[in-house]
């Protein structure tokens, strides 16, 4: 139980600090720390495979790309001075959009938490600790969500290629001839 509180505290504090401080590099690193703490929680739940996958996929692969982009842009501090002069309710679209998403998340969390108490029975440790069982469940019972997520990633990939190729069609000077 001590370890649960330790990892949970690290995850919460690190996640808060991600948005609370201004240097984007530190934000990325704190997010990695938060992912690490989450992975520790998975280990406590007897799911080492999920824990290691969390590190490989999120902390290892995705965050390296984040760091890569932040370093390339080399933005030491966020430029928020202009926004801060405007009143909270009069800020441009992205702030509103973010607010709506945050509200949706809070509602979902409340729904999940109130629901969890009633009908969640004990789960078998075997179901999450064995890679074989996990794979079988993922490709049978949860095959549809799995495939939908794959399509989502494919969309992002196509989008990245379109964005990268846009310059060469209009003959921009930055793009090398292919």
């Amino acid at each position: 139980m001590t370890f649960f509180y330790l990892f949970a505290a690290v995850a919460v504090v690190a996640s808060l600090l991600v948005i609370a401080q201004r240097n984007p590099i530190y934000s990325v690193l704190l997010l990695i720390a938060s992912f690490g703490a989450l992975s520790g929680l998975y280990v406590l739940l007897d799911a080492p495979f999920v824990a290691v996958t969390q590190i490989i996929v999120y902390a290892g692969a995705i965050m390296v790309l984040f760091l890569f982009v932040v370093m390339l842009l080399n933005a030491p501090h966020e430029e928020t001075e202009h926004d801060e002069k405007v009143h909270l309710l009069r800020r441009p679209g992205p702030v509103w959009f973010g607010g709506v998403l945050a509200a949706a998340l809070v509602v979902e969390l409340l729904w999940a938490l109130t629901r969890a108490g009633s009908d969640s029975g004990p789960f078998s440790v075997e179901a999450v600790s064995s890679v074989r069982t996990l794979g079988r469940v993922l490709f049978t019972e949860y095959a549809f969500p799995f495939e939908v997520t794959s399509v989502l990633i494919l969309v992002a990939m196509v989008g990245a290629v379109v964005l990268a190729k846009r310059d060469s069609r209009s003959g921009g000077p930055s793009a090398p001839p292919v």
Binding site: L29, I32, P48, V52, A59, G60, F68
Partner: protein, 341 residues
């Protein structure tokens, strides 16, 4: 303190110091072999045949001044070498290096010769290797120097590109061994075919072994893939601004990573501690011989092959190595399905 706990602590301490000494020995071997390959004498002054040279180097580094650029981000600048060295040491924790032993009957039950027995060991090594990138990337960024930054960026691009092939080569072996535990994978390679050919996965996965070693060399940033520190273009790459012991930590991490990649390759492809002549209790000698042979190839390659150009490296990784790894994985999966290994 149970005897098992004491035995595990002993193994932990022995592995830690073996890695330190192994890195020191590798520095000597590397310089000695480089000299032999280039027909010069190399370091022969300190100790017999220059054997004490690595210790002289360490003492020299300790007495050097710890420099820090004025515009550097002091926290990340100090953190980066720590991340590199920690990842290098901890990756070896899940590598088994010998058959189960009871230490001459001192233990009631035989214990596995490894620091931590994790049932997803292969993935743990992969995860720690991917965390090791941060040490190099952060060193490059926090130094606030253009050479360091370019070195750090090159390194992250290179490691992302080669991690894919590395992982796919691993996956093919996992299919053959039907497990994620390194101990199980090694034990699946015991015995021999027709009493002649050892049952090593390298004979079933020759292409996979080559892909794994190539990607492993790129992962450890060694020649001919040592772009992050290409000295002709980038002074010394990501560790340009580092001096004294913080430089030594990067140096140490590089050599320990070499040892780890060789040890993992030995466990996955070369049958680990299984070999002829020696009894099972002395299997760790076979393990050391195989690791040493792979490390020799590392050094041999560095002093024989010229460095690739950066765009060649990227093209090779994405257009040749990755498709080969995918084809290898598909063929292995089809074979496993058909023959039912």
């Amino acid at each position: 303190m149970t005897p098992l706990l004491i035995a595990q602590l002993v193994v932990l301490v022995v592995v830690f110091h073996a890695l330190l000494l192994g890195a020191a020995a590798m520095v000597w071997v590397e310089r000695w072999l480089a000299a032999a390959l280039q027909q010069r004498r190399g370091p022969i002054l300190v100790g017999w045949q220059g054997l004490l040279q690595p210790f002289a180097d360490v003492i020299k580094l300790m007495f050097k001044e710890e420099l820090r650029p004025k515009a550097a981000d002091w926290f990340l600048f100090a953190l980066a070498p720590i991340i590199s060295a920690t990842c290098a040491f901890s990756a070896f924790a899940v590598v088994p290096f010998g058959a189960s032993t009871s230490f001459f009957g001192l233990l009631d039950e035989p214990m596995k010769l490894q620091v931590a027995d994790v049932n997803v060991a292969v993935l743990v090594i992969f995860a720690i290797a991917s965390m090791g990138v941060y040490g190099i990337v952060l060193a490059g960024w926090s130094s606030n120097s253009k050479y360091s930054l370019l070195g750090g960026l090159r390194s992250s691009a290179q490691m992302i590109s080669y991690e894919l092939s590395y992982g796919l080569a691993l996956a093919a072996v996992l299919l053959l061994g039907n497990s994620l535990s390194l101990t199980d994978l090694v034990n699946a390679q015991a015995g021999s075919w027709f009493h002649v050919i050892p049952r090593w996965f390298v004979f079933l996965q020759p292409l996979g072994f080559l892909i794994f070693m190539t990607a492993g060399v790129a992962e450890t940033n060694r020649a001919p893939f040592d772009f992050p520190e290409a000295e002709q273009e980038l002074v010394a790459g990501y560790h340009t601004e580092y001096s004294s012991m913080s430089f030594a930590m990067f140096f140490l991490a590089e050599y320990i990573n070499m040892v780890t990649v060789s040890a993992v390759a030995t466990d996955l492809f070369l049958g680990g501690w299984h070999g002829p002549l020696l009894p099972a209790s002395l299997g760790w000698i076979w393990f050391l011989i195989k690791v040493a042979a792979l490390l020799f190839f590392y050094v041999w390659m560095r002093w024989t092959l010229p460095r690739y150009r950066y765009d060649q490296l990227m093209a090779f990784g994405w257009k040749i190595l990755l498709p080969l790894a995918v084809v290898n994985l598909l063929a292995t999966a089809a074979g496993v399905l058909y023959f039912g290994v």
